[in-house]
């Protein structure tokens, strides 16, 4: 499958994206600072509660990112457009980073709160399995060179992985469980809720910016590959 090399003006342009990136990073600095400085220590957890402003948004945004992977994987299988595959891959990379962040921040919180770094709880275990599934997804992309095959296989692995996550969650919950259920906004101080939501939006903007940047990089990589192929085949 050799598509013609795209003309330079086919490639995504920066447009307003650098401004969006700057905004996203300023916003996350602002919401983090507000959360850390203004919210009073929790009655039981004290300052430890503040890890909620990074751990919980990271977990939410991580789930959203994998929904993006699922969406673009289906779209690729349906429409067979290469860009959808690159978008899915970009989202998978960003999602894995957020997933790793969620796990590490959770462990930092779990050590003082539960007394252990790790517990075989349903959420912890299924998050770890999700992380491993997407590490496998990214490793496979590195090992397969043919772009069409890589895209087709990635979509299959991405969809199968997404099917598996709720199943892992259910089975591990059956096995044993420790993680607290979500606090409802009604039982949490409204200032905490506000800070949490503001940080969730900040993480969302950073996620969108990261995926976009990773996607643009992937497009340039593909364009470079196609240009090399075109030269090798004697076209210019």
């Amino acid at each position: 499958m050799t598509a013609p090399a795209p003309a330079p003006n086919d490639l995504p342009r920066p447009g307003y994206w650098p401004w969006f990136g700057a905004f996203a990073f300023l916003f996350i600095v602002a919401t983090q600072a507000t959360g850390l400085v203004t919210s009073i220590p929790d009655r039981d957890m004290g300052d430890l509660q503040k890890i909620m402003y990074v751990h919980v948004p990271a977990a939410w945004i991580m789930s959203l990112t994998f929904a993006v992977v699922l969406w673009y994987s289906f779209l690729y299988l349906w429409k067979q457009r290469e860009n959808d595959d690159l978008k899915a891959a970009a989202a998978a990379e960003v999602g894995s980073a957020f997933c790793g962040l969620t796990l590490i921040l959770g462990m930092i919180w779990g050590r003082p709160a539960w007394g252990v770094w790790w517990a075989w709880d349903a959420r912890l275990t299924s998050t770890l399995v999700l992380f491993l599934i997407f590490v496998g997804y990214l490793a496979m992309r590195a090992f397969v060179e043919d772009p069409h095959r890589r895209a087709q296989w990635s979509a299959a692995v991405g969809i199968m992985g997404a099917i598996n996550v709720p199943i892992v969650y259910m089975s591990v919950r059956w096995w044993r469980t420790l993680h607290q259920v979500q606090s409802s906004p009604a039982t949490v101080d409204s200032w905490y809720v506000f800070n949490l939501r503001a940080n969730a939006f900040a993480f969302l903007f950073v996620m969108i910016y990261f995926i976009r940047q990773r996607y643009v990089a992937a497009r340039y990589e593909r364009a470079a590959e196609l240009a090399v192929q075109a030269v090798a085949l004697g076209r210019d």
């Binding site: 491993l132 599934i133 496998g136 496979m140 090992f143 087709q152 199968m160 099917i163 892992v168 089975s171």
Partner: protein, 228 residues
């Protein structure tokens, strides 16, 4: 009758795979020997204490089957790839899922035979008392193997055709197998320890549900994976 033709295709693939294996037996012998070796190594890791061995028997058995099975799944495509037979196989008319179904059945028989050896050796080495509910235990072994083999056959269709297939298959397959292994290990352990909490049947029902999902999803996805 379309379904009758499909069934004949499935049978032809099963026959082909089992005949190739039966002519040499090298694959089966080495994979079964590996399963037994892994059991012996678990025996060393868990120590000579009889009770500790008995408690860990179910987990060790399933892991031995898993590690040995991974080799079998890659092999089931490798023989065809080496002789350039996969493309002609894909060129035959008829639905592609029949290739998957045939390979799945052939691998089930392969792993089932391996399981007989590994389980018998495991009972001796881990000093397992065969429970009164041994028919259910055989059911758990069968259900667990179906889930294991279905996902293994599916992921091997990709991994065996990529670079670094030895590392890629376990990396993709093991996280996917967590629910199946968890249910199979828990049900086996419950049955081996007398099922005091009556949890074995619930785990078995979950295994049935997983098997349905993990056979149907690869059947649907196989065409996308094998055509490239």
């Amino acid at each position: 009758m379309a379904w009758r033709d499909d069934w004949r295709r499935v049978r032809a693939i099963v026959w082909k795979d089992l005949t190739t294996e039966g002519r040499s037996k090298a694959g089966f012998n080495s994979v079964a020997a590996l399963g037994v070796t892994i059991l012996v190594l678990f025996g060393f890791a868990l120590g000579p204490d009889a009770q500790a061995l008995r408690d860990a028997a179910a987990g060790a058995l399933w892991l031995a089957v898993l590690f040995a099975g991974v080799l079998a799944f890659n092999r089931s495509y490798q023989v065809e790839l080496e002789s350039g037979a996969l493309e002609p196989l894909l060129l035959y008319p008829g639905a592609r899922w029949t290739i998957f179904a045939g390979k799945l059945l052939a691998n089930c028989i392969f792993v089932g035979l391996m399981l007989v050896i590994v389980v018998l050796v495991g009972i001796v080495l881990f000093q397992v008392r065969v429970p009164a509910a041994w028919p259910q235990l055989i059911g758990v072994l069968a259900l667990g193997s179906i889930g294991l083999v279905s996902l293994g056959t599916f992921y091997a269709a990709m991994a065996s055709r990529s670079r670094a297939r030895e590392v890629l298959l376990p990396l993709l397959l093991f996280p996917m197998l967590v629910p199946v292994l968890l249910a199979a290990m828990s049900a086996s352990k419950a049955l081996l320890t007398g099922d005091l909490m009556h949890e074995a049947s619930a785990w078995m029902r979950m295994l049935v549900a997983y098997d349905v999902i993990f056979v149907v999803a690869p059947l649907l996805a196989f065409e996308h994976v094998i055509e490239v």
